[in-house]
Structure formats: C-alpha cells, structure tokens
Amino acid sequence: MDIKAAGGADDPVLQWVTFRLDDEVYGINVMQVQEVLRYSEIAPVPGAPSYVLGIINLRGNVVTVIDTRQRFGLMPAEVTDNSRVVIIEVDGQVVGILVDAVSEVVYLNQSEIEKAPSVGTEESAKFIQGVCHKDKRLLILVELDKMMTDDEWSEISML
C-alpha cells in the first residue's frame, strides 16, 4: 500500500482503517493493520484476563482476540453478520480486535487531526490520539500501542 504524500513533507497524508463500535467510528493507522477477518468461533482461554475474548487459528498461527468494547469501556454487545476481527501488529505482536463493523480506509492530512480532550482519568482515555471531521461526522483516532500496558502485552504473548 503506497502512502500518498500529496500534502507534502510538512503535512503528510496518513491512511486510517475505520471501524464502528456502537454509533461511533474509530480509526487506526493502516500500517498496523494486517488483515480483516469475518467473525469466526473464538476459543475461550481459561484464566485469561477479562479483556481477552479468546484465541483463533489463523493459518496455523494462534492469534489472541481482544475485547475492544471492554478496552474502550463500552457495554458488551451481540455479535452480528457485520462483526469483524481486525488483525493488527503492535511492537511485533500480532493480535485481533473484535469490532462491530469495518468501514473504509480514509486519507487524512496530519493538519486535519485535532487533539482530543485529555481530561478523562480513565485508563481508556489514554489511547485516543485525536479526532477528525470526515464526511460530516467525527472520526475518533485510536493509538493502538497505548491500548494496553507493557505488562498486558506481555501477558497476551504468553497465552
């Protein structure tokens, strides 16, 4: 995937994969997305932390699936035909995140991204990177690296 530098070096254009949770649209950096899978049976792992839904078999590899709603502090919801597992790579670790639906890839100039408020004291507020207007709605950009602490990433790697 080529990233267009139409905005110039001072205002790079970045690509974001957007997905939905409830009525909100979130974006994650396309460079961290490996693939998007339809929802399939997730095998629960006894003793796993509460934010882990379970594991899936991805072409012979075991991938841990994270409960994104729990991470974002949202209420649980039923899985639907539109639910997807987005396979992401963070610091060399591959995990899946379950979302309500995956939308499109959007192109955003760096200058279009606004800072989100950081007045929240909840841990989940840490990984909101910014917000952006796109097609008459606000896109919430998420920093996946901060979705979990180093200890939590280590915990997942040992599942």
Binding site: V119, G120, A125, K126, V131, H133, R137
Partner: protein, 249 residues
C-alpha cells in the same frame, strides 16, 4: 406527602420542591456564601490593621546593637490586605479585569438556573442540532464533541453537572439546545435557553471573595437572580486538567 431527604441531606424538607424554588434556593446559597466570605474578609482586615500598627511601633526597641537607623517599616508593607502587585488571576479591586467598569453579559439558563457570561469572554453560541460524538474514558460532565464549521470541534460540557452536581437531573440532558462557547477556547457550555444581553455596573454584583471553592463563579446578581461565570478561571481549570492528564499519558 411524607418528607424525604433532599440532596442536601436534610430530612425535614418536602419531597417535591418546584424546580424554580430549588434553583432559587441554590442561588441563595451562592449569594450567602459570597456575602459571608466578604464579611469575614472585611473583619480580618479590620483586625490586622491595628495589630500591624502596634507591631510597627514596637520595632524601634528590638535589640540591634549595631543599627544606627530605626528598623520601623511602613504599615502598608505589613498589612496583608494591601496587594502591591495584581494577582495572577487578573482580579483587581475584588473583581475581574473586565468588570472594572460597566460591562455586558449574556444570560443563559441551565436547568432553571440563570447564568451569565461576560460578552468579552463569550466566543459565540451554537445550536445543538447534531448529535454529539461521545468519547470513552471521559468524566461524566464531558458530553462529547460537536463539529462546527466556524468553531472547529467544540468540547461540550454538561454545565449543570459542573455547576450544581448535587441538583443534577439526568432527564434534563435531553432538552439541552445550545452551546455557549468560551472565548479563545475549544470548550462550550451546554444550556437549555439563551436569554438577553444585559448591562451591569460593578456595584450591582456580589463578587466572590472566597475564590477557592467554586473557581468558575465570579459573582452573583440579585436583581437578575443569576450567577456570573468566571470563564477565564474555568478554561484555565480545564486546560490544567488536560495538561496533567497528557503528562500522565
């Protein structure tokens, strides 16, 4: 109707206070606090001045074998009520910089309580026509983000939760119609109604002297039964919270 505990915890109050009565009681509380604090401050000043004079007179007899000049210092430098420099919050003569002479305010209503924002600190008024975008992990007084062509992305505050959390009613959130923007900031106060603009003289306002407890409150106006907001203080508070949170992250 059996009496129940009100939000203030007093068991003898009737159960269903009319909303307007509840708001007036709350405003009265603000006024009483402001007045009580002002009176206390005057008493302290009156007590300190004679003491300071007594101290100044006593200074020449303090042991100073090598001193050739009296050690007496002017009383003005000892009295705590005399401020040599303007305070950091810009308040002078017990009121904000924008209230040193006649000033104008916009009145707006939140859950029956009339609030006022000085026009010099008003950024604009937006209609809450589109749904707000909520953000996870935010405090309950943060309603969400409102996109605006003119103002950019506005961070909307549930004003009632901030100003009178003890009297907050969740069902009133649905009828919020406007957002009053705070000047030079990305923050806006959600409200139910926007009323008139009024002109006030500084003496018409009971200015807060106790600035610690409700930093957002500049003063109260009995004639209009309203509370004037100190927008600069509120924006400063929000930005400090923002900076602290970013440093933690």
């Amino acid at each position: 109707m059996s009496p129940e505990r009100s939000n203030s915890g007093r068991a003898s109050r009737p159960t269903a206070l009319a909303p307007q009565q509840a708001v007036q009681e709350y405003l009265n509380t603000l006024l009483q606090e402001a007045t009580a604090a002002a009176v206390e401050s005057e008493v302290e000043t009156a007590v300190v001045a004679p003491v300071a004079s007594a101290v100044a007179e006593a200074l020449p007899v303090a042991p100073a074998p090598t001193a050739t000049r009296p050690v007496v210092r002017p009383v003005e430098k000892v009295a705590p009520s005399a401020a040599a420099e303007p305070p950091a919050d810009g308040w002078q003569h017990g009121r904000p910089a924008w209230a040193q002479q006649r000033f104008e305010c916009l009145l707006f209503k939140v859950s029956g309580l009339m609030l006022a924002v000085p026009l010099v600190e008003l950024g604009g008024v937006l209609k809450l026509e589109t749904e707000l975008t909520p953000l996870f992990g935010q405090p309950d007084w943060f309603m969400g983000l409102l996109p605006s062509k003119g103002e950019g992305t506005v961070k909307v505050i549930d004003t009632a939760r901030w100003v009178m959390p003890e009297r907050y009613r969740e069902q009133e959130r649905a009828s919020l119609k406007y957002v009053v923007m705070m000047e030079s900031s990305e923050w806006g106060l959600a409200c139910h109604e926007v009323a008139d603009a009024i002109t006030l003289e500084p003496h018409q306002v009971n200015w807060r002297s106790d600035r610690g407890r409700r930093p957002w409150l500049a003063g109260t106006v009995i004639e209009h039964m309203c509370a004037i907001m100190d927008v600069a203080a509120l924006v400063k508070l929000l930005r400090e919270q923002d900076r602290r949170a970013r440093r933690r992250n």
